[in-house]
């Protein structure tokens, strides 16, 4: 079959910049392409050609970042090519325009987060989309259930296909390929003889790492050898430190348990930190679809403590490969679960081994790809939609409204909002331009910082902050004085 996979407008495939969806697509392509004639359309990136055929897969890359611009490129490509099946990733808002360009293709839609929520897509359009697709694939039961709850009458078949992990790359720290790396990382960061807790994720209110830092005092009374590693890129940022990052840094500084921040770690290197840890903790406070880090932690043979939010707990078998925190708002609930695992070394070991077993048995890319192949088959056998042509036109009009183009996925890409994704949504009317600009600014800033030298920058910023404060104090005093006169 001739199949087109349509990526999102945010990040390129292969995942040179990371990204859960991009990893999902890249992980399964080697297998999928053995069975079908596959084209992947995604966004352009300076490190990737706009057109290439690699390992039998055709890649087409068009400008992206802004959904409207990306949509134009995708639609144009589809108008000039024909496919039996089009598999759209996480962009229900691309479905109707693509249907317009490919009236005879079957459409499968993959959902990686809550893009069917009403602030993301107009309910009228959403209902049409649900009629138009043969089936929907979700990354967790949670994501599928949200869609069912929102649109109980009109949902097509929804199937959860959990994501996967490269179990050859993510390996336990005692694996021959990893032990040296583990030792050297631990040595380099003063983690020898420590029991290392690992957090990996965006440093934001939603991801909740502050709860883990606040659990440390309680843990320190029971365990003398603990350390916490925080793998998230914004810890050391200077120019755009968010209040949240400042807050967690201030908390971390006062801990008797050492808190090691890794700063930015390239997506291709993160397995090294997983291999260097002893226990993985996910602290998410929001309804998270299902974070990839769970698969990575399992593959690395780490026991997992995660939260009962969104789909995260779906891959945890309590007491087998981890424990679930029911009330993640409360730091002591983390302390309690972590204590349960750390105080029983044999349980801890068993959980790690079981996690690795589960990863190899259930979460290899092979399994993911095979399930996608099944879904494709069903899609091809399903009848083509019978939606009226008139409806189609009326549905396409609102798509020019860019208020819904912001995506939940952004959190993986642009972790610049500390409060919630909802804040992002609030910015929706300006976000497209802003995203683009921010990226440019960030790049520019980075270039500038690189030139200047990191340490230099850090020291300066500190002074600057102080200066600013001094100045503010002075100003406040002056104002007060003025007004008293």
């Amino acid at each position: 079959m001739k199949i087109l996979m349509v990526c999102t407008e945010k990040l390129p495939v292969p995942p040179v910049l990371g990204g859960a969806i991009q990893t999902y697509i890249s992980g399964t392509l080697p297998i999928l392409s053995k069975f079908h004639d596959i084209t992947v359309i995604g966004i352009s990136h300076p490190s990737l050609p706009d057109n290439e055929i690699k390992n039998g897969i055709q890649y087409v890359r068009v400008p992206g970042i802004i959904l409207e611009i990306y949509r134009e490129g995708v639609v144009q490509f589809i108008q000039n090519n024909s496919f039996d099946l089009i598999h759209i990733f996480n962009r229900p808002r691309l479905v109707m325009p693509i249907r317009g360009a490919a009236p005879n293709a079957k459409i499968t839609l993959s959902m990686h987060n809550d893009m069917f929520n009403i602030e993301k897509i107009d309910p009228t359009e959403a209902a049409s989309v649900l009629k138009e697709v043969s089936n929907i694939v979700t990354v967790s039961d949670y994501v599928g259930n949200v869609i069912r709850t929102l649109y109980p009458e009109s949902v097509p078949t929804i199937r959860t296909i959990y994501s996967g992990v490269d179990t050859e790359r993510f390996l336990p720290g005692n694996h021959p390929k990893m032990s040296e790396i583990r030792n050297s990382i631990r040595k380099q960061h003063g983690l020898e003889n420590k029991t290392v807790l690992l957090f990996a994720g965006r440093l934001s209110v939603n991801k909740g790492v502050d709860r883990l830092i606040r659990a440390l005092p309680q843990l320190s009374t029971k365990f003398k050898d603990l350390a916490l590693v925080v793998m998230g890129s914004k810890w050391f940022s200077q120019d755009d430190v968010t209040d949240y990052v400042a807050y967690i840094r201030a908390l971390a500084k006062k801990q008797s348990i050492p808190v090691v921040a890794t700063g930015f770690v390239s997506p291709s290197e993160i397995q090294k930190w997983f291999a260097s840890a002893d226990l993985f903790v996910c602290t998410s406070l929001w309804q998270e679809p299902l974070a990839r880090v769970h698969y990575e932690a399992m593959a690395a043979g780490l026991p997992i403590v995660t939260t009962a939010r969104g789909g995260n707990s779906e891959v945890i078998i309590q007491n087998e490969n981890g424990l679930i925190v029911e009330n993640p708002e409360d730091p002591s609930c983390f302390a309690e679960k972590i204590t349960t695992i750390l105080s029983d070394k044999s349980l801890m070991k068993r959980m790690g081994i079981r996690g690795r077993e589960l990863a190899v048995a259930n979460y290899e890319w092979n399994r993911v790809a095979n399930e996608i192949l099944e879904v494709w088959q069903q899609s091809i056998e399903a009848p083509l939609t019978n939606i009226q042509h008139n409806d189609l036109e009326s549905i396409q009009t609102p798509l020019t409204n860019n208020t819904q183009s912001e995506t939940l996925e952004v959190y993986q890409v642009e972790p610049d909002n500390e409060f919630s994704k909802q804040d992002k949504v609030d910015k929706e009317d300006k976000v497209d331009k802003k995203d683009k600009k921010d990226k440019k600014e960030k790049k520019d800033k980075k270039d500038q910082v690189d030139k200047k030298g990191k340490k230099d920058k850090k020291d300066n910023k500190k002074d600057n902050k102080k200066d600013k404060k001094d100045k503010k104090d002075k100003k406040d005093k002056k104002d007060k004085k003025d007004k008293q006169k």
């Binding site: 209110v205 409060f419 804040d423 609030d426 300006k430 270039d447 104090d473 104002d479 007004k483």
Partner: protein
């Protein structure tokens, strides 16, 4: 010139207050070539080193001008510049006119920032720091709000709107009270930590009540009226950005304008004035609101929101939020005293708000 990117700079002992890095001065000269007037002299009048912004006063053959390097994202600055142009050209507001370049542009983009030139209004004199002055400010603010209605930003600008964000910003205040508490606990040896711990629960409870009241109010129906019909808030309005000049009160420094319910400016002006007085004075509040109302009539719904916005622990939040950055220096004796002052002033806030609560009955 294309490759230069303006970044924040670091003043030190060797630089004076109005220091601007050489490369920015060079860029400024390039930018000025786009204008038809001849510059006789230029003088830095203010800088924002931590953000990368500056303002110069220019003496030109066409009179004095202000020349600004805007620190915000260019697309954000385009929103504000469009507003300034709208206020002057369409509404005839007393705000400085933007001078066009030879090519008829409102701004020049250089170093990744926007630069623009506006008329330097003179003479400008601050109004008196008494109730009369406060009323003049309020009336001028009302006028400004009225005139800002109907603004539509240019298509390349981002839409800066705080209109729908009130609940989020109230929630943020509540969340950050947790942060203040947790930091005070972690830094309990610092002088101001105990002061924070003594009062943070009370202020957090106030914020929770404000949010609950907001949700009960007509806020959402007001939001539905949309950005354009509400117009703009200045966001940084007070004794320095509203001044007496030719033909009346002038409003300057419009760089931060955004769509919002206009009374947020009024709330800030009044609550800031009350904290300067160390007392919530019913007469002042009533007279200031009335002066505003004369220029921009308040409906009972807006008045209700004004009251709700007063009820937030604005002063405590505004003054303590910096604590996350350098708790070791922030949590000093000065902050202890500051908190005491805020708490003392807060005592008079509630009787005052109770008294005026029903001034605008539905």
């Amino acid at each position: 010139m294309e490759n230069i990117v303006i970044v924040p700079w670091e003043p030190d002992e060797l630089t004076h207050e109005f220091f601007v890095p050489e490369y920015i001065i060079a860029l400024a000269a390039e930018v000025l070539k786009h204008y038809s007037f001849q510059v006789k002299s230029m003088q830095v009048v203010t800088t924002k080193p931590d953000k990368g912004g500056a303002i110069w006063r220019l003496e030109t053959n066409e009179g004095p001008k202000s020349f600004k390097l805007l620190h915000r994202r260019p697309t954000r600055s385009m929103f504000s510049l469009g507003a300034q142009k709208y206020l002057v050209e369409v509404q005839g507001a007393r705000v400085p006119a933007v001078i066009q370049t030879k090519a008829g542009q409102e701004f020049i983009e250089a170093g990744g920032k926007l630069w623009f030139v506006a008329e330097w209004i003179e003479p400008l004199a601050p109004v008196t720091k008494d109730l009369e002055g406060a009323k003049q400010l309020c009336y001028a603010l009302g006028e400004f709000h009225q005139l800002s209605k109907g603004y539509i930003p240019p298509s390349q600008a981002e839409v800066a709107s705080r209109l729908a964000k009130w609940p989020k910003s109230y929630e943020k205040v509540i969340t950050k009270m947790d942060w203040f508490r947790n930091i005070a606990k972690a830094y309990k040896e610092m002088p101001a930590s105990q002061s924070i711990l003594n009062v943070v629960d009370t202020f957090q409870e106030q914020a929770r009540k404000s949010l609950a009241d907001l949700k009960q109010s007509s806020y959402l129906s007001l939001v539905e009226q949309g950005n354009k019909s509400w117009g703009l808030v200045h966001q940084d309005y007070g004794w320095s950005n509203g001044q007496m000049g030719p033909n009346g009160m002038w409003i300057i420094d419009l760089d931060g304008v955004a769509y919002d319910l206009p009374i947020r400016d009024l709330r800030k002006l009044i609550s800031g004035t009350m904290s300067d007085l160390f007392n919530w004075d019913v007469t002042w509040i009533r007279e200031m609101i009335r002066a505003y109302h004369e220029a921009s009539p308040l409906t009972p719904e807006l008045y209700e929101l004004l009251m709700i916005d007063f009820s937030l622990p604005n002063e405590f939040y505004k003054n303590i939020k910096e604590v996350v950055y350098e708790p070791e220096t922030f949590l000093n004796e000065t902050t202890t005293q500051l908190i005491q002052t805020i708490v003392d002033t807060d005592q008079s806030k509630w009787p005052a708000l109770n008294e005026i609560q029903h001034d605008w009955r539905k």
